[in-house]
């Protein structure tokens, strides 16, 4: 088969114009598919930009045996059998998927597992080898030890054999390219090429997902960058720039799990200290247009320590606020500011005020970071973080420490999230371009449809007409920028539809952040539109809680409260034209049962009181920024 695919690749290469053009794909039968972009994005596309399979060092160690092919079939809505033997099928297919296996040691655990035992000289590796072959429990213990050793820079030398690693990486990468390309179907389902650059400093999470806009011909000219040897953000940006220069292609990076970076993801300084340089800020903004705000290992929107007046801050922080990724460094409150996205957006304004460039002008998405090859973010069908916590009676209360320290339990994992993209077509190019212009949002799982436009002359009456077209004509969509020069305060059109098969909506909020001339960071959450407004009058500036229909005993809820749709034209009542600001939308669902509640019903469990059994799921849009003409 490899030979046949090589021939196909050659044919593609010689057809000149076709090569590298995403809109056109030569399918095996020799037919071109042309996918036209619409005038403006009409339908939101749902996907996962962060998924691991058996080719990831840790995922394999944790037991997964499903590879990229199963991952792609599952995302497209096919039924697959999970590693633990359960039938798995998404109730609704996804529109796109990026398989982002760890570049570091791509395929390495599998290679160690498959190696001839008598050739393993290193005693530690031999020990891990034997543990992995004991079965799933041993394999998970081995993986915990490997991660711990990695965090302490104590991996055996034999595991860091650079030549061998490079060769294996290339072979796995090329074989993945073949698979991904076979499942990419422009117009219907987009399969991206990508990998995870797992940058980590002493167990602090600085991970990035790298996503290519291009087809196999360009992507095959590189291999994933291994953070074992390239250990700074500069190095990944060098790699990206070199790729773009050599191929004419495009690539972007998405940071994630800032909540586990112990304050390092969104620093006010240059990494390693000293004032941030404009050059660094510019490069960062250029290569990292989007940040993953929510995923299985917690939610990074806002922390109650930083946002004490936001009663909805702190979603999914339990367990993750204790220490860094590997649990080898406890967290202290002063670190939160460099970890949570809302604060980072504010810091970006401040840095821009100081040096003219905003390093943190990014859009927002959610994704799963699942290590089971299964992208699941629905509470009633959550396949867990890794194979060890695919559905089973013990998983809610099991200790889940990536290293060997204590403090995290199964229920701390969130069945979250998905990436929503306002693209003009379902192709690599169109979705990538939407990410570049930040016209994206993140959800903790439910597929709410959220529109957000900013402009200077939106009126209530606009909602009666073709307001989407008006939004694009007279304003900017989420991710866009407003600059001064118009009269009055900016007005925003915001609209949310519930997930068509999910829960009703509680409310739509606009989160505003700004920086005063004196350099003070400020934020305020505005309730903009909510359900049952006649009965729920704001008191003390806050809209009362929506209520709660969750029946924990049956893991169910009813849509007898909340609203299916909410929309509003909103004008900032506190606008100061001389002050930099951003606005993003947060949509809250009514309370619904969480995955541990479904597990409790399924396995007849009695859960301790600290376990989260219900929650208000949410969506976060990319911000719209306002910049004064002379700030």
């Amino acid at each position: 088969m490899r030979r046949r695919l090589m021939v196909a690749a050659l044919l593609l290469g010689t057809s000149g114009l076709l090569a590298g053009c995403d809109q056109l794909k030569k399918v095996a039968g020799g037919k071109d598919v042309v996918v036209k972009e619409t005038e403006f994005p009409e339908r939101v596309l749902w996907g996962d930009t962060h998924l691991h399979t058996a080719n990831s060092v840790d995922a394999f160690g944790f037991g997964v045996r499903l590879g990229p092919e199963e991952a792609l079939r599952f995302a497209r809505g096919e039924e697959v059998t999970s590693t633990t033997g359960l039938k798995a099928k998404l109730p609704r297919p996804l529109d796109f998927l990026v398989v982002t296996d760890h570049a570091e040691g791509l395929g390495a655990t599998k290679a160690l597992y498959d190696a001839p035992r008598l050739l393993i000289r290193d005693e530690t590796m031999l020990r891990w080898y034997d543990m992995m072959h004991e079965g799933p429990a041993g394999s998970q213990r081995a993986m915990a030890e490997i991660l711990d050793a990695r965090g302490r820079n104590a991996l055996p030398k034999a595991m860091l054999n650079q030549d061998g690693t490079a060769e294996r990486t290339k072979s796995v990468w090329n074989s993945n390219i073949d698979t991904v390309e076979r499942y990419n179907e422009p117009g219907k389902f987009t399969a991206f090429f990508g990998f995870e650059y797992t940058l980590m400093q002493g167990g602090n999470n600085l991970h990035r997902n790298i996503i290519f806009r291009d087809g196999p011909d360009r992507v095959r000219t590189v291999v994933p960058l291994d953070p074992t040897y390239k250990t700074t953000t500069d190095e990944i940006w060098n790699y990206m720039e070199a790729y773009e220069k050599a191929t004419g292609g495009r690539v972007l990076a998405i940071p994630h799990n800032s909540n586990l970076s112990n304050g390092l993801m969104f620093e006010l300084t240059q990494p390693g200290g000293g004032p941030m340089t404009a050059a660094y800020a510019k490069r960062r903004a250029q290569h990292e247009p989007v940040v993953e705000i929510t995923q299985i290992k917690g939610d990074s929107e806002a922390h109650p320590f930083l946002s004490p007046n936001d009663e909805f801050a702190g979603f999914g922080v339990a367990g993750w606020e204790l220490n860094n990724l590997l649990g080898n460094q406890p967290k202290v409150p002063s670190m939160f500011a460099g970890e949570y996205v809302r604060e980072a957006l504010k810091r970006g304004l401040l840095l821009e005020q100081q040096m003219g460039v905003n390093p943190y002008k990014f859009g927002l998405i959610g994704s799963t970071d699942s290590h089971t090859a299964l992208s699941t973010a629905d509470e009633n069908q959550f396949f867990g973080k890794h194979t060890g916590n695919e559905p089973n009676p013990a998983r809610v209360m099991q200790e889940q420490n990536l290293g060997t320290r204590k403090g995290r339990f199964g229920w701390h994992y969130l069945a979250s999230g998905y990436a929503a993209v306002w693209a003009k077509a379902n192709t690599r190019a169109s979705i990538f371009d939407a990410m570049e212009r930040r016209e994206v949002y993140g959800s903790t799982g439910p597929r709410m449809t959220v529109r957000f436009f900013g402009g200077w002359d939106f009126k209530d009456a606009d909602l009666k007409g073709d307001w989407v077209r008006a939004g694009y004509r007279r304003g900017v969509p989420m991710g866009g920028e407003l600059s001064a020069g118009k009269k009055g305060a900016p007005s925003f059109i915001v609209s949310a539809l519930k997930d068509p098969i999910g829960a009703n909506l509680d409310r739509v909020q606009i989160v505003k952040g700004w920086v005063t001339k004196a350099g003070k960071l400020q934020e305020k959450v505005f309730d903009v539109v909510w359900s049952d407004p006649d009965k729920r009058k704001p008191t003390g500036g806050k809209v009362p809680a929506v209520g709660d229909t969750v029946n924990v005993a049956t893991a169910s809820y009813t849509n007898s409260i909340g609203a299916p749709t909410l929309a509003k034209v909103w004008t900032d009542p506190e606008f100061d034209p001389s002050v930099r600001a951003f606005y993003y939308v947060r949509v809250l669902e009514i309370p619904t049962p969480s995955w541990p509640a479904f597990d409790a019903v399924r396995y007849k469990l009695k859960l301790p009181p600290e376990v989260r059994v219900k929650q208000q799921e949410r969506a976060y849009t990319s911000p719209i920024w306002y910049t004064p003409t002379k700030a």
Binding site: A28, G29, K31, R73, R92, H133, P500, P564, A567
Partner: protein, 278 residues
């Protein structure tokens, strides 16, 4: 997805396969001796050395030094002795790990051929004919949609009455609720409609009449009127248009089928008796 060659290499690198399959080949083909647990002679001849050497190069990408070769040979002998003594004691028989490992290796061997195989057009056509609906392009609806509000008994009744009273060509006289839902779709597939409104809505539309207002149609949001202006049904799928999808399915199934077939053919050599306690 590894190629057959990678798989074969991976399989041959497996320690157990090394001892059992590769070992058997070395002994059987090269030395002319069958692999036998009761064999008391351990011969390290040129083919054995060569295979030790090659495997080292495969793993470490350099030839072993003479000292390393000595070590590898000593280790080989040690392993052979332990292995044969273990077989003699029957330690392989009640060891679940050994059993499972060998089962996995047998599985990999049986699936490897299918992974590399190339389906004929006839095979793919047969697969397509078995389930044409799976590969068919979806029907395309061009329609108008009016959202009239949340699903309540009162609104349902009003909607039914409005539909019954509507004059041909005119929309039913009930006010539309403004929302972000698109009010028209051009050439939307049922899955496009399902993504927007849920499966129930898409199913109802698929069964709705063309050319006039109909409703109320229920979605996750509430009640709608719908007028299908045009319905394009796709012709039966042709292999040339859907080859990639059919081939993906063929290959995915072929690996599992080959494993199953190989198991069944082996199973035929056994008498299986299940004695249930009375």
């Amino acid at each position: 997805m590894p190629s057959s060659r990678d798989l074969a290499v991976a399989v041959l690198r497996e320690p157990l396969v090394h001892f059992l399959v590769a070992g058997a080949l070395v002994f059987l083909v090269l030395s002319g001796r069958p692999p036998n647990a009761t064999e008391r002679r351990i011969v390290v001849d040129e083919p054995v050395l060569e295979s030790i050497f090659n495997r080292y190069v495969q793993s470490f990408h350099r030839p072993p030094t003479p000292e390393e070769i000595d070590g590898l040979v000593q280790d080989y002998i040690r392993s052979e002795v332990y292995y044969r003594e273990a077989l003699r004691l029957g330690l392989d028989r009640d060891d679940e790990v050994v059993k499972k490992r060998m089962r996995n290796k047998m599985l990999a061997l049986s699936g490897a051929d299918a992974e590399a195989a190339q389906p004929s057009d006839a095979e793919l056509q047969a697969l397509l004919d078995k389930n044409p609906a799976r590969y068919a392009a979806p029907p395309r609806f061009t329609l108008q949609q009016r959202y009239i509000g949340a699903d309540t008994p009162a609104l349902r009744a009003a909607a039914k009455a409005a539909i019954a009273a509507a004059k041909p060509g005119l929309a039913p006289a009930l006010p539309t609720v403004t929302s972000a839902m698109p009010d028209r779709f051009d050439d939307a597939s049922p899955s496009d409609l399902a993504a927007e409104f849920g499966d129930d809505f898409a199913d109802s539309v698929s069964n709705a009449p063309v050319g006039r207002w109909t409703g109320p149609i229920v979605s996750g949001f509430g009640l709608h009127f719908v007028k299908i202006e045009r319905l394009k049904k796709a012709p039966p799928p042709r292999l040339e248009d859907v080859r990639q999808s059919v081939e993906n399915d063929w290959r995915f199934a072929a690996v599992r089928k080959a494993e199953d077939a190989s198991f069944k053919s082996m199973l035929r050599g056994y008498d299986v008796v299940i004695e249930r306690p009375r």
